[in-house]
């Protein structure tokens, strides 16, 4: 336990020192990795812990980004209230969509969320007056020199990551987390045990949406330009799922480990083969699914041997 605390302390110190030691390129890259770690952790709450494969989670990212962008440009909000509104919108939409879609299970839920996300994307794209339509929308940038701005967003994402990790860690240890896991393991049984499954599922998704929406808002302020095809891109969710698979779904640290591994691979490989960029992502997905569907973390935490990495013809894993 103590050695764990020391490792965490060293990691945290490195993360805090990093933006002052590294060049802008690396700072941005790590910021981006933090962002994916946050998004994957948020997805982990609904998909990893509760067992609902929310393939449409980008809807909250997109809505968070657009809420901030629209409020800042059209209404003249400053950033902090716009951020709060983004969070509120994401949670509200999650509750409404959750009431409709969380009755569905398995594939039906996954595809239902995907359909809802695409539908929202087209609505946003067609509200040209407000959202700028296909032209996207430009957010008033933060003033200051580029290095300071880089550092600012680095710490925004880092802070967000710390917060979500603490939340997920707390949740995984308390009633809420046990309810989520019970739902994942066997929803009927959980219901019989007196868990109000609908309420807990909506809570899980709203929590997931809260962080996804906030991340979207930070992204909009950071990139200063957003358009619907980017911020509602399904590919991001796919990447998050891959991160969860690499790192280990339903664990606190899995998404962080997964995000760092995937981003490292992407830096090493994709930047050199720009034409094969997506193809290699596809290949990684296939290989990860085939050879380590339980995630790297399962090796560490449960002391599994290398042969357990090779699956599972009939592991009746969670549904």
């Amino acid at each position: 336990m103590r050695s764990k605390a020391i490792v965490l302390g060293i990691l945290a110190a490195l993360c805090i020192a990093a933006p002052f030691l590294l060049t802008g390129f690396w700072v941005r890259l790590i910021t981006f990795t933090f962002m994916f770690a946050v998004l994957a952790s948020a997805l982990n709450i609904i998909a990893g812990f509760t067992g609902y494969a929310a393939f449409g989670n980008m809807v909250f990212f997109g809505l968070g980004a657009y809420t901030t962008a629209v409020l800042m440009t059209r209404v003249g909000f400053s950033y902090p209230p716009a951020l709060l509104c983004s969070a509120a919108v994401a949670v509200a939409v999650a509750i409404v969509l959750g009431m409709l879609l969380l009755r569905l299970k398995g594939h039906y839920f996954a595809l239902g969320t995907l359909g809802a996300a695409e539908a929202v994307k087209y609505i946003v794209e067609n509200m040209t007056r407000i959202t700028g339509g296909g032209q996207g929308i430009t957010v008033p940038p933060l003033r200051g020199n580029p290095a300071t701005i880089n550092t600012f967003f680095y710490f925004m994402m880092f802070g967000l990551l710390i917060i979500i990790l603490v939340v997920v860690w707390r949740v995984s240890k308390n009633r809420l987390g046990y309810a989520f896991k019970a739902i994942r393991a066997n929803e009927e049984a959980a219901g019989v045990m007196g868990i109000d499954t609908t309420r807990y599922k909506i809570t899980a998704w709203a929590l997931s949406a809260l962080f996804t929406g906030i991340t979207g808002s930070v992204y909009a302020y950071w990139f200063t330009y957003i358009d619907a095809p980017t911020v509602f891109d399904v590919m991001w969710v796919v990447k998050m799922f891959v991160i969860l698979l690499i790192g280990g779904a339903g664990t606190v640290w899995g998404p962080v480990i997964g995000a760092f591994i995937l981003e490292t691979i992407s830096e090493l490989v994709w930047s050199r083969f720009i034409n094969l960029h997506l193809g290699i992502l596809g290949l990684i997905i296939i290989l990860v699914v085939l050879f380590m569907p339980r995630g790297i973390i399962s090796l560490v935490s449960q002391g599994r041997g290398i042969k357990d990495l090779i699956p599972i013809r009939r592991s009746g894993a969670q549904r």
Binding site: A47, A53, F55, L100, L101, R103, L104, G106, H107, Y108, A110, L111, G112, L114, G115, A116, E118, A119, Y122, I123, N126, V234, M235, V238, F241, V242, L245, A249, N275, L276, H277, L278, G279, L281, G282, L283, I284, I285, I286, V289, L290, P293, P311, I312, R313, R314, S315, G316, A317, Q318, R319
Partner: protein, 286 residues
């Protein structure tokens, strides 16, 4: 105008049925949502385009070739890769087929570039009129071929030993194993047949639609709607679902501005899921 839209919708609905049947077969038998199904259609369309552009083969004649190629490709994918994880969670198989879709799209992008391609048939403008409604010959032929394929598939599932084995495996995996069915081989055949039908659909759409490496995604959404509308694994259901989707799309264009077209498809998807997840005919399995 409305009548024309109805006719167009029904004619194209048969192609949708071909698309939906394969998708719903894989889903019904193996509980896999094959996100790459759209990519199989796209590959079929590209092969048909290439055969036409290089050797002048009519898309209708290239159907058997394309179906064979896709059958083999999908059989290999299922046999050597998907079978390893097919019995695990939804989460895993869904992610796998997503990866497959991305990979196929990228390969197509490298081979055929991002330009829109379509087959320009010399007889593409031929057609006739009945009571003010224009019926293009190509679309009629596409309709007929799609119906024939659907009929053949129906017979395959009912009359052949392999088809019955597929049904048996879908109904009871352990039971099928007990009576000596090589279930993993059946899985591979199922995936192959599904891809072959997708390939045929690709050939059929190549003369009337432009394709590029990114059309796979929207196609899957449609296949999903058709499968849901018709009920899992039901051939007749897929035919009904395909016709309904064709009608909704074409009749929709009469009343709704074209920029909302895509929205319409996805809204139908969500609404059907929420209100009628058991399908229009309310029947599951065969």
């Amino acid at each position: 105008m409305l009548l024309q839209a109805v006719v167009n919708g029904l004619l194209f609905g048969a192609v949708y049925a071909t698309i939906g049947i394969g998708f719903s077969l894989v889903w019904g038998v193996m509980n896999i949502i094959n996100i790459a199904h759209g990519s199989f259609i796209m590959v079929g369309a590209y092969l048909s385009y290439t055969l036409y552009a290089v050797a002048g083969v009519d898309p209708f004649l290239s159907i058997p070739v394309v179906m064979t190629v896709l059958f083999v490709m999908a059989y290999v994918i299922q046999r050597f890769m998907l079978n390893r994880v097919v019995r695990s969670s939804v989460f895993i198989t869904l992610t796998f087929t997503f990866g497959l879709q991305i990979l196929i799209a990228n390969v197509c992008l490298l081979i055929w570039s991002a330009d829109y391609r379509s087959v320009k048939l010399p007889y593409s403008s031929a057609g006739f009129q009945i009571g003010g409604v224009v019926i293009p010959l190509v679309r009629l032929a596409i309709f007929a071929v799609a119906l024939i394929l659907t009929g053949l598939f129906y017979l395959f599932m009912r009359r052949t030993k392999t088809g019955i084995a597929i049904n048996a495996t879908a109904l009871n995996f352990e039971g099928a194993k007990t009576v000596g069915i090589d279930v993993y081989n059946i899985y591979a055949i199922t995936f192959g047949v599904s891809a072959a039908l997708a390939g045929a659909a690709g050939c059929l759409i190549s003369p009337i639609m432009s394709i590029n490496p990114f059309v796979g995604g929207p196609m899957v959404a449609k296949a999903f709607v058709i499968a849901i509308l018709g009920g899992l694994g039901s051939t007749i259901g897929a035919l009904v679902g395909g016709m309904v989707l064709g009608l909704v799309e074409t009749v929709g264009t009469v009343f709704i501005p074209s920029s909302y077209q895509e929205l319409l498809g996805f809204s139908v998807l969500v609404l059907v899921l929420v209100f009628r997840p058991q399908g229009l005919l309310g029947k599951r399995f065969y």
